[in-house]
Amino acid sequence: MASNLARRTSSSAVVPAAAGTKRKKAQRDRGPITEYLAFRLAGDVYAAPVSIIREILKLHPLTPVPRAPASIMGIISVRGQLVTVIDLRRRLRLAEGPVTSKARILLVDPMGVELLGLYVDEVLQVYRLADSEIEHTATALGGEVASYIAGIARPAQAQATPQEGKGVALKSVGVVRQNASVIILLDLKVVLSS
C-alpha cells in the first residue's frame, strides 16, 4: 500500500522519450523537480508533496469522536486499520462549504508515527515543480507568514505540460488551470504537529 500513487504518477510522467529528454534539459535549468499533489480547500488550491501521500480515498462513513479536538472529524477504518481523519479546513481555519461527492481523504504519514486521513474538498492534479518555480514565503509575502506554508508556486510550465497522473482524479483540469494561478504549498509536518 506504500505510495502506489507516487509510483504511478512518476512512471506515467516519463512516457514520450522526446519529451523526456526535453524535460531533462529543462530540469537542469530549473533545478531539482518535486511532484506535488494539488487539492482544493475552501476554494483555494493547496498542494503537498506526492511522496508523503500514500493513498487517496473516497469518503468513508466517518465515526465522530466525542470530546476530540474540533479539527478531528472522526475515525474511519482503512482495511481494518483505524485512521483519524483531520479536517484540513478547520486546521487551517478556512471557511467550510458543503461536502460534495468530490471530497476525498488523503492518507498521509508525515511524521512516521501515525497514519492520518486529511479531508480535502477536491483532489486536482499532480504538478511537477522545480525549485525555481517555488517562491519562498518570506520573499513572496514578507512579514509573518504562517509557518505551515512551505512556499507559493506559480507553475507556468507545469500548466503548459500538465502531468496527468492517471491514478488521481483529474476531472476538473480545466478549472484548475484558471484557478491555479497560485498554489499554496503546505508543510504537512507543521500543519499536523500543531
Partner: protein, 795 residues
C-alpha cells in the same frame, strides 16, 4: 536489504532477550541450590552455556559491550564450572548484576544509544577481581586412572575430582536400554539416581550384538553404599559395581571400544527425538549426556578436552540452539494484530454472506444450491472462529515470564533491605495475553517491593512476635472464568490503617467526622489515593515516587481491578484481577443519539430501564435508587456533547447519505461540557423536570414500555462497576451483545479521555469502546469531593 538486516537485528534482540530471561531463571535455581548447600554442576553449566551463546550472538551483531561482558562472565563461569572458584553469595550477586546489565545493554543497543555505562565498567573490574576471590576448591590429590582421564572431558574430570574430594565412592552402573525407549529410560535413570549422587559420565559398553538395545556404563559418584544404590536402582535393571579407591585397576572398562562398534549396533541412524527440556540433559558433552544415538557418528570422543574454557564442543552447542529455534517461532505481536485485522475483515465477509443467503431464501432460488451455500457458509464461519481462537492462543504467554523477573527483584530487594524472604510461586503456568504480561511487570514489581520493604518486618521484630524469622511472600496466579487473578500476599505486619487514616485526614482527603464512619475496607482503599504512603521514612527501595495509585491506574488501563486486604500483624494481600486478553472482548453495544458505542461487558453489571421520575438530584448530580443503594447517573449524550434528541434525523455520523447532507457531524464538537457544568442549574432542571411516567427504577417490563407516550424517548441505564464503584450510564437504546476486536485510537486522539479504543461492527460501522474505569474515575473524582463537603442531603 536494510529491512532484512533489520529483521535479523530484531531476531537478535528477541533471542538475546529470551536467553537473558532464561539466564535469570537458572541463576535463581543456582541461588536456591547455593542456599541449600548443594550446587548442581549441571546448573552452572546451563548458565555457562547461556552466556556463551550470548557472547556469540553479541559478536555477530557487533554489540561489543555485550560481548565483552559475556567474555568476562564466561571466564568466571568457567572457573565456577571447573571448581576453581566456589559458588558463594557474592559471586551470585555479581551474576545477578550481570543479568540486569544485559537487560540494560540490550535496551541501549536496541535504541541505538551508545552512552557510557559506568556500572558496566564497575562490573567488569569486579568480575576480574571476583574470578580470583571465591577461594579455590581443593582436589584432594587423588590419583586417578589415566585411562579414565583420557575419556573424560575436563568438566567430567572436575566432577570426578569433586566426588573424590568429597569422599564419595565411585560406582560403575551397567544398564541395557531398548533403543526405542532409550530417552525415557535415561530420563528415568537420571531421576532415580540423582538423589543418590552425581552421574559423572555415560559410556557405551561393547557387549552382545543385539541390534535393538544398547548397554551403557555409567560412572557415578555417591555417598550411598553399594547396597543402597543397588536397591534404589534395582527396578530399572541396573547392575551396580563399586570401584576400588585410589585408582587401582581398570576403572571404566569400555574405553577400548568406542565408536565403530556402535555403528554396528545402530544400523539406521534414526535421530532420536530431542529431549523435551534441554535443562534436563545438561552434561558437558551433550552427545554423551543425553542422545547416545548420536554416537553412531564418529565422535571426537576421547580427543578434545584439553585447554580450559573450550571444553564444550562449540558444534554441539550450536546444534542445541538450532533445535530450540526450530521448535518455536518468535513473532512480532504487531504481525498478530495484522492477522487479527484480517480475521475481522473475514467476519465482515461472513455477515455479508449471511445476508445474501437470507435474500436468496426470500427469492425462492434453487433449493439445492441454497442448501449447499448454507453449508459452505457454516464451514466458513466455523473456520473463521477457530482461526480467531488460534491467533488468540498464540498471543498467550505464561505469567511465569513476569514471575521470574519478580523473583529476581525479590532476591535483590531482600538482600538490600537485609530481610530474609521466602518467595512461594504458584500458577506460573497461567496464561495471559502477551501485551498484558508486558504491562504487568511494573505494577507487580512495585507491589513486590512494597511487600518486602513495608510488609515484612525486620528479623528481630518477627522473632519478638514469634513469627518465623524468614518472611514469606506468596505469589499466586490462577484463571477464573475469563479473568486471571494474581495475588501477592505477605505475612508481614499489615497496613497500619490508623496511620493511613490520620494521614488522609491531614492531607484533606477525608474529613475527620467522616473518618469515624468509614469501614475498615474503605480505609484500606485509601492506599490507592495519590500521595498516601504509610511509611513515615521513605526507604531507598520503595521511595521511587511511584505509589499504589499508579499501580492502580496501570492495572485499570489493562481492564483490571485491584483490591487489598490486610490484617494487622498477619499480613497484606493484594488481589489483581485481569482480563485474559485485550484483543477480543465481549461488549454491550448501545446507542446514544444515533451513534453506537461499545461498553466492555466485564464492566457491565446490568442494564435497566430508566425511570426519569425516580431520578433524584443530589448536590447537582443525578442518581436513582437501584436495589436499595444509590446509583449515580451519567448521561452519555450530555457527557459527549451529542444531541439529546436521538429521534431527529440528520444528527448522526457521516452515514450513507453523507455526500448530500451538509457538514453536520462536527457541530457537536464545541459542546463538551466542562466538568463543573454538571452541577449547573439548567441541566438539573432539564432532567429533573422531564415528564416521564412514574415507574420503579428497576421496572422494565414490556407493558411498561408500551405505556409510553409515543413521543417519549425510552432510555436505559447501563450499570457499570469498577471495583466497588458503580455508575449508571444513561443510553438511548441497547443494540446487543457482541464479541469485538478492540483497536487503539491513534496518538492524535490520545488526549481524548473516556474511550479505550474503537471497534468495527459487523455492519462496517465503527463504534467507540467506552473506557468504563476512566469514566467512573472521572465522575467519582468529582463525587468524592462533593461527598466530603456534603452529608446534608440525607442519603
Amino acid at each position: 536489504m536494510t529491512s532484512e538486516s533489520e529483521r535479523a537485528r530484531e531476531e537478535f534482540f528477541s533471542e538475546a532477550q529470551e536467553i537473558v530471561e532464561g539466564l535469570g531463571r537458572d541463576l535463581l535455581a543456582l541461588d536456591e541450590a547455593q542456599k541449600a548447600g548443594h550446587v548442581d554442576p549441571d546448573l552452572i553449566n546451563d548458565v555457562f552455556r547461556a552466556v556463551h551463546t550470548l557472547k556469540g550472538l553479541a559478536g555477530l551483531f557487533g554489540a561489543t559491550r555485550m560481548s565483552s561482558l559475556s567474555h568476562k562472565l564466561e571466564e568466571l563461569l568457567d572457573d565456577l564450572r571447573l571448581g576453581k572458584v566456589n559458588v558463594t553469595a557474592p559471586v551470585l550477586d555479581l551474576l545477578f548484576l550481570s543479568v540486569q546489565l544485559y537487560g540494560k545493554l540490550l535496551q541501549a543497543e536496541k535504541e541505538g544509544r551508545d552512552q557510557p555505562m559506568p556500572e558496566l565498567e564497575k562490573l567488569l573490574t569486579q568480575l576480574d577481581r571476583g574470578a580470583g576471590a571465591g577461594g579455590t576448591a581443593g582436589n584432594g590429590g587423588h590419583i586417578i586412572d589415566p585411562n579414565l582421564l583420557a575419556v573424560l572431558t575436563e568438566f567430567e574430570e572436575h566432577k570426578l575430582k569433586t566426588n573424590i574430594a568429597q569422599g564419595n565412592t565411585l560406582y560403575r552402573l551397567k544398564i541395557r536400554f531398548q533403543l526405542a525407549t532409550i530417552d525415557q529410560g535415561l530420563d528415568e535413570l537420571k531421576a532415580t539416581a540423582k538423589p543418590h549422587g552425581d552421574i559423572i559420565t555415560y559410556l557405551p559398553a561393547n557387549d552382545g550384538d543385539d541390534l535393538d538395545s544398547i548397554t551403557l556404563e555409567i560412572l557415578m559418584g555417591s555417598r550411598a553404599s553399594a547396597t543402597t544404590l543397588r536397591n534404589a536402582l534395582h527396578h530399572l535393571g541396573v547392575e551396580v559395581e563399586e570401584l576400588p579407591r585410589q585408582g587401582g585397576g581398570p576403572v571404566p572398562a569400555p574405553a577400548p571400544a568406542p565408536a565403530p562398534v556402535q555403528t554396528h549396533h545402530i544400523p539406521t541412524p534414526t535421530p532420536s527425538p530431542p529431549p523435551v527440556a534441554p535443562s534436563h540433559a545438561p552434561s558437558a558433552m551433550p552427545p554423551l549426556g543425553h542422545t547416545p544415538l548420536d554416537m553412531t557418528a564418529p565422535h571426537p570422543f576421547p580427543a578434545p578436552r584439553l585447554d580450559a574454557g573450550a571444553s564444550i564442543p562449540p558444534k554441539a552447542q550450536e546444534l542445541g540452539t538450532i533445535k530450540s529455534v526450530a521448535q518455536t517461532v518468535r513473532v512480532d505481536i504487531q504481525k498478530l494484530d495484522v492477522l487479527m485485522n484480517i480475521v475481522g475483515e473475514l467476519s465482515i465477509v461472513r455477515t455479508e454472506l449471511e445476508r445474501l443467503l437470507e435474500k436468496m431464501r426470500d427469492a425462492h432460488t434453487n433449493r439445492e444450491l441454497r442448501i449447499n451455500l448454507h453449508r459452505l457458509q457454516r464451514d466458513f464461519e466455523r473456520n473463521v472462529i477457530s482461526l480467531r481462537r488460534g491467533i488468540l492462543e498464540v498471543r498467550m504467554v505464561p505469567l511465569g515470564q513476569v514471575f521470574d523477573k519478580l523473583a529476581r527483584v525479590a532476591r535483590q530487594i531482600s538482600r538490600e533491605a537485609g530481610k530474609q524472604v521466602n518467595l512461594v510461586i504458584t500458577g506460573a503456568e497461567t496464561e495471559v495475553d502477551k501485551l498484558i504480561v508486558e504491562e504487568l511487570s511494573d505494577p507487580l514489581m512495585h507491589m513486590m517491593r512494597n511487600a518486602i520493604d513495608h510488609g515484612i518486618e525486620e528479623r528481630e521484630i518477627r522473632e519478638a512476635v514469634s513469627k518465623p524469622a524468614v518472611g514469606t511472600i506468596a505469589l499466586n496466579a490462577f484463571q477464573k472464568g475469563n479473568h486471571v487473578v494474581i495475588e501477592i500476599e505477605d505475612d508481614g505486619k499489615g497496613i497500619d490503617t490508623e496511620r493511613l487514616l490520620e494521614k488522609a485526614i491531614r492531607m484533606g482527603v477525608v474529613q475527620a467526622d467522616e473518618a469515624r464512619t468509614m469501614s475498615r475496607r474503605e480505609v484500606l482503599n485509601l492506599i490507592f489515593v495519590p500521595g498516601l504512603s504509610t511509611k513515615a521514612a521513605v526507604s531507598e527501595i520503595s521511595g521511587r515516587g511511584v505509589g499504589m495509585d499508579v499501580v492502580k491506574t496501570n492495572i485499570s488501563k489493562l481492564g483490571g481491578v485491584i483490591d487489598v486486604q490486610s490484617e494487622p500483624g498477619i499480613g497484606t494481600k493484594f488481589t489483581v484481577t485481569l482480563p485474559i486478553t485485550l484483543a477480543i472482548i465481549s461488549a454491550l453495544i448501545v446507542k446514544v443519539s444515533d451513534q453506537q458505542f461499545a461498553i466492555p461487558l466485564a464492566n457491565v453489571q446490568e442494564a435497566v430501564w430508566l425511570d426519569a421520575e425516580a431520578v433524584r438530584v443530589i448536590d447537582g448530580r443525578e442518581a436513582v435508587t437501584l436495589r436499595g443503594s444509590t446509583l449515580q447517573l451519567c448521561y452519555l449524550a450530555r457527557l459527549f456533547g451529542l444531541s439529546d434528541t436521538p429521534d431527529t434525523v440528520g444528527t448522526g455520523p457521516f452515514g450513507s447519505g453523507f455526500d448530500a447532507s451538509p457538514m453536520s457531524p462536527m457541530s457537536h464538537a464545541p459542546g463538551v461540557p466542562p466538568r463543573g457544568s454538571l452541577r449547573s442549574e439548567s441541566i438539573r432542571q432539564d432532567y429533573a423536570a422531564a415528564a416521564f411516567p412514574y415507574r420503579p427504577a428497576s421496572g422494565s417490563s414490556p407493558s411498561a414500555r408500551t405505556a409510553l407516550a409515543p413521543r417519549q424517548k425510552r432510555r436505559f441505564i447501563v450499570v457499570t462497576a469498577v471495583g466497588t464503584r458503580r455508575l449508571g450510564l444513561v443510553v438511548d437504546s441497547l443494540v446487543g451483545e457482541q464479541d469485538v476486536v478492540i483497536k487503539g485510537l491513534g496518538p492524535s486522539l490520545k488526549n481524548v479521555a473516556g474511550f479505550a479504543g474503537a471497534t468495527q461492527l459487523a455492519d462496517q460501522r465503527i463504534a467507540l469502546v467506552l473506557d468504563a474505569p476512566a469514566l467512573v474515575e472521572e465522575m467519582f473524582a468529582h463525587a468524592d469531593r462533593a461527598r466530603m463537603h456534603g452529608g446534608t442531603h440525607g442519603f
